[in-house]
């Protein structure tokens, strides 16, 4: 792991290897790609659109979407743009590509051609290559981002940035811990330093590519201080490699006070740490993810969850909101279902745009606790790293200073357990090795005790399970007997 911008020669040497990982790698010509990127109009660039959203105090809307075949994929994106009114578009990558299993991705493509339906859960951009990407991105009127979950995303970055995408999601931590099992954190961080270096290279040549650490992590009862710490670390890592436009993210918890406090502190703390390490020229924006946990199967109920996320995103002042669809509980949505999620969201972002929402004392109190927690984690983490952000992160995970609930990655401690308090805010019930002082811990214990008393039961793993199911069963807090408390 580097603790400075990767020297150009080392970077270029590594590029050769990377481009050799799959046949389409040879399509990439970096200088030509930069020229191509420069030819893209401002209105189709992520960085510009985000900047003007901040000025206009708008919350932009963006779906997730990706299918196996190029024509179908373009048709899908056009539909989401024209019918759904998406302000920003995605290209969600399939799971084989995410695990660099390009041969299996190819099988998926071939089978999809044969059966006439997409058998992949996303768009296999590496297999399709640079020209196909360009033909898609250039046919759309709004900026397009790569969204994935790829631990080693170097080749994918090379191909998609040359392919005209102007934003790239992910990070060495956020695309490892929730998205893999056996990937070494050291390796994924190093690989993502390559991606950030590539973005930094474009930046040096005058082309800004937006970078977005993946905020929600496992999407399942993640306390804000955990996802904030990961976001800040990945922002520092990206900035170090020369990225200048970063969108930090957070997945809705469902308690509005906590969600608003989270988005506001996320922005503040990210800027604070970037400034502290001399990256004050980085532009920071925020993304709010509509509920990332299990959804209700009933579509009318799913619309309610989508709406609640949309309104909270606006009231929190997020720069953009990632939208779910009413099919969420079932499977990858049809184009129609996906557009419906967008339309619901747009109605609310427009209706709420003009409303003011101030900081209540509850929001301030919640911001205060999130700040304290995040600073505790960040300071302890930075101390471990010998001025190397990557090393800090690796050691923080090793020692459980940062601990993501329900993560599949073996390098995650998995000792921390969250649960909701009586108002539905996410608190922590097993701290594992989180570096919190007793006053913070007492706060959590007190909050959970309140709930335990109301429900007349102990805080336990059963309570956590109840909370995991709650939203899909029509509640926020997983009460023992629905409706009784």
């Amino acid at each position: 792991m580097y603790n400075r911008k990767i020297p150009l020669d080392e970077f270029l040497k590594q590029r050769e290897e990377v481009l050799n990982q799959w046949s389409t790698g040879k399509e990439v010509n970096l200088e030509e790609a930069i020229e191509y990127q420069k030819s893209i109009e401002e209105s189709k660039r992520f960085s510009s659109k985000l900047a003007s959203a901040i000025v206009n105090k708008e919350t932009l809307i963006q779906p997730r979407a990706g299918v196996a075949l190029p024509n179908e994929h373009l048709k899908l994106l056009k539909y989401l743009q024209d019918e759904g009114g998406a302000d920003l578009l995605p290209t969600t990558i399939d799971s084989y590509t995410r695990h660099n299993r390009y041969t299996e991705a190819q099988t998926g493509i071939d089978e999809s051609v044969r059966t006439g339906k997409s058998l992949l859960n996303g768009f296999p951009a590496v297999n399709h290559g640079v020209q196909v990407c360009r033909s898609i991105v250039s046919s759309l009127n709004v900026p397009v981002q790569v969204r994935h979950g790829t631990p080693d995303a170097r080749l994918l970055a090379e191909i998609t940035l040359a392919g005209g995408f102007t934003s790239y999601e992910g990070g060495g931590i956020s695309y490892n811990i929730p998205y893999g099992k056996n990937y070494s954190l050291e390796k994924t961080i190093t690989d993502w330093q390559y991606v950030d270096r590539l973005v930094g290279y474009y930046e040096e040549k005058g082309v800004t590519i937006n970078r977005e650490p993946f905020g929600p992590l496992t999407g399942t009862l993640v306390p804000a201080c955990i996802s904030h710490s990961v976001a800040i670390l990945e922002s520092l890592l990206a900035a170090e490699q020369g990225c200048k436009c970063i969108t930090v993210g957070y997945g809705q918890c469902g308690n509005q006070v906590q969600d608003i406090a989270a988005i506001r502190t996320l922005e503040q703390l990210t800027k604070e740490y970037l400034n502290r390490f001399g990256f004050s020229d980085v532009k920071v924006s925020t993304v709010f993810h509509q509920w990332m946990g299990g959804f209700p199967q009933d579509e009318a109920k799913a619309y309610a969850v989508i709406s609640w996320g949309a309104s909270t995103a606006v009231l929190a002042g997020a720069t953009k909101v990632i939208v779910k669809s009413p099919h969420e509980a079932f499977g990858v949505p049809t184009a129609e279902a996906n557009a419906n999620g967008l339309k619901t969201t747009k109605q609310l972002t427009s209706m709420l745009k003009d409303q003011v929402f101030t900081e209540t004392s509850e929001i301030k109190a919640e911001m205060n606790i999130i700040e304290q927690e995040t600073r505790s984690i960040m300071e302890a983490t930075l101390k471990l790293g010998e001025n190397n952000f990557g090393l800090s992160a690796v050691r923080a995970f090793e020692s459980g200073l940062i601990d993501v609930p329900f993560a599949p990655a073996l390098c995650n401690a998995g000792k921390m357990l969250p649960a909701r308090d009586n108002n539905g805010a996410i608190r922590i019930y097993e701290f594992g090795n989180l570096p919190f002082d007793e006053s913070i811990k007492d706060f959590h214990r007190k909050k959970l005790q309140e709930r335990a008393e109301v429900e007349r039961r102990q805080v336990s793993f059963q309570m956590v399970i109840d909370d995991i199911y709650a939203v899909s069963k029509g509640r926020l807090v997983g009460r023992p007997n629905k409706g009784n408390v």
């Binding site: 799971s95 084989y96 995410r98 695990h99 299993r101 299996e104 099988t107 998926g108 089978e111 339906k117 997409s118 058998l119 992949l120 859960n121 979950g149 929730p178 998205y179 893999g180 099992k181 056996n182 496992t218 399942t220 946990g293 299990g294 199967q297 099919h327 509980a329 079932f330 499977g331 990858v332 949505p333 049809t334 279902a337 329900f406 993560a407 599949p408 793993f461 399970i465 995991i468 899909s472």
Partner: protein
């Protein structure tokens, strides 16, 4: 009486870990001895674990939509290895997109699965069914 071994895991390149944690907990609570292979489990890993632990059932989860591609040939493989008596269950979001479940069920049964569950199926139903199926085989009292 000794506890019955069941192998659980999430197949393919799938990393959805939450349901897996709960299935582990639920089967353990129900009195089974759970061998949890976690996420990103290959067909072969399922088979090896079943052989090694003399498991009576393999509970496969697939959430991410590649279930069809990931499970092809699994039934045959187990049969060839002489594991035709091991009960093979699967649940989750088995195919890409919202679709007619009866079609999906047929598809996976044809691939050798004994029981196939729709999205969001109650895991307790799976436990119930397993107990009954084991009883029928004379394994579970």
């Amino acid at each position: 009486m000794e506890k019955i071994n069941v192998v659980i895991g999430v197949i393919g390149a799938d990393v959805h870990a939450v349901g897996n944690r709960i299935i582990d907990y639920a089967f353990s609570q129900a009195g089974f001895n759970v061998i949890n292979l976690g996420v990103m489990v290959s067909q072969k890993e399922f088979m090896d674990a079943a052989i090694e632990t003399n498991a009576k059932a393999i509970i496969v989860s697939s959430l991410y939509g590649h279930g069809e591609l990931d499970c092809r040939g699994m039934g045959d493989m187990l049969k060839e290895a002489g594991l035709e008596d091991v009960l093979l269950y699967i649940g989750g979001n088995l195919v890409v997109g919202k679709s007619d479940f009866s079609e999906v069920e047929k598809l996976f049964k044809s691939m050798g699965f004994n029981r196939v569950y729709p999205p969001g199926a109650d895991i307790n139903q799976g436990i119930e069914d397993l107990k009954n199926d084991l009883k029928e085989k004379g394994i579970y009292a």
